[in-house]
């Protein structure tokens, strides 16, 4: 059996050295910060791109008298929430409960009572 005999030129590396946990945490936080910084840059670029469409959107809204965003087209109170009849129970016929999925995303628009003959 041969034994290891170090020569004057042998480099001994101590592999028992362990990384301090704090450094791993700092590395992890640094990585997440870098990802978030990239997303922040993307957010600003995308915002600038949308601002470019803003003027055209204003022309469309003013030229066509649009009052609502086109998000959900399944029910009139989700397609045109600001100018359609407010959502009330049994609004379509007796016993008709609200059943459209998108209806659960919108807060029921309160009855538009600001300017009616009563007030």
């Amino acid at each position: 059996m041969t034994t290891f005999k170090p020569t004057p030129f042998t480099i001994i590396i101590d592999i028992s050295y362990t990384v301090r946990p704090l450094y791993i945490l700092i590395l992890l936080l640094g990585f997440l910060t870098a990802v978030d910084t990239l997303l922040f840059v993307q957010h600003n670029l995308a915002g600038n791109r949308l601002d470019g469409h803003q003027k055209i959107a204003e022309i469309a809204v003013a030229g066509l008298g649009l009052t609502d965003l086109c998000i959900s087209t399944e029910a009139r109170y989700t397609r045109h929430p600001s100018i359609s009849d407010p959502v009330v129970p049994f609004m379509d016929h007796l016993g008709a409960i609200e059943h459209f999925p998108s209806g659960s995303f919108w807060v029921p628009v309160t009855p538009k009572t600001l300017f009616t003959q009563n007030n």
Partner: protein, 397 residues
Amino acid sequence: MRQFIEKNFNILDYALTSLWRRKFKNISVMVVFALVIFLLASFQMVTSALTKTAANSLTQAPDITVQKMSAGRQEAIPLAYLEKLKGIFGIRTVVPRIWGYYFDEKNLANYTVLGLETWEMPTGNELNLTLAEGRFPQKNETGLVVLGHAVHQALDLGDRKVLSFFRPDLELQSFKVAGIFSQNLEILTADLIVMNLEDARQIFTIPGDHVTDLCVYVGNPVEINTIGKKIAALLPGTRVLTRPQILKTYQMIFSWRSGFASVCLLSALAAFAILAWGKASGLAPEERREIAILKILGWETADVLVIRFWESFVVSLLAFILGCTLAYIHVVFFEATLFSPVLLGWSIIHPKLQLIPDIKFADLLLIFCYSVLPYMAATVIPAWRCAIVRADSAMHN
């Protein structure tokens, strides 16, 4: 000072090692925690993006919209009201409009048909800028329509320029496609079919002396509310909607009070309640023994609490950053895929949602406060209860 920092770094090292010793438990807690924050942050970002889009785009909506009501529902308004409105000082112009929904039985899609004299509208002569191709019908041109991009795709027209609609009397009415709206405007025009007022009248068979509603434009925007009240007084049985009301509607419409938001909020609260209950009901015997050994070795109660603080702070901070980052990626790059089935519902027309959330520090702070702080409190309090018990009795138990 240096000693204080070094001591806290050492404690943090110990806390991290302690977390890693129970890695499966802590990672699973962090993942569940991050999912809860992801859900809340996603909802917050979707609603803020939609609210911002509405606030930016709808600033040019009609000053006042007048609709006739009957039995609690909107019905066609007589054109005779137009003459009455001319008597109100301050009104610049009134534009009659016919609009409604056309159900396409082939595609099962609902289109919004809009008929108006575009040249009478404020930016009517610039509307060609909103088109990807073609032009808007000119005055006295009938039988021409401008389609939303999604409508053009749903009808699968391709290069064909002619399409037909069924009138209520089942007669077919043909139109020629004059233009298609730009894809960048899908959030406003996806399901629109714009045509001449008279063409819309024929499609819906609305009598010649009636329209759907009236768009009123006033000379001085400050007087919108005053003129709105005058119109309501002059025309009983009408619903008068002002632009500030429309903008206010969109500020409130995507709120925590909606059903879906309540479900998100309640599930998050339930998850926190379960987590807090588990933590507050006491530490595991192994953790008790660890605290007892530390105290026997000379650690003070304050040091034990600092370890527990760092442990819960690291878990909750990582979960918060991870949850918020994933929420942003979900909303912006995947168009809020998880919420789309609820947001769009059974709609056949799916506008392309270019959502860019309006991220405010206050919103992030709100999510941080009702997710991270309760978790830290729920972790530190039981540790304090255990740390004040005598070490020998803790070991004995």
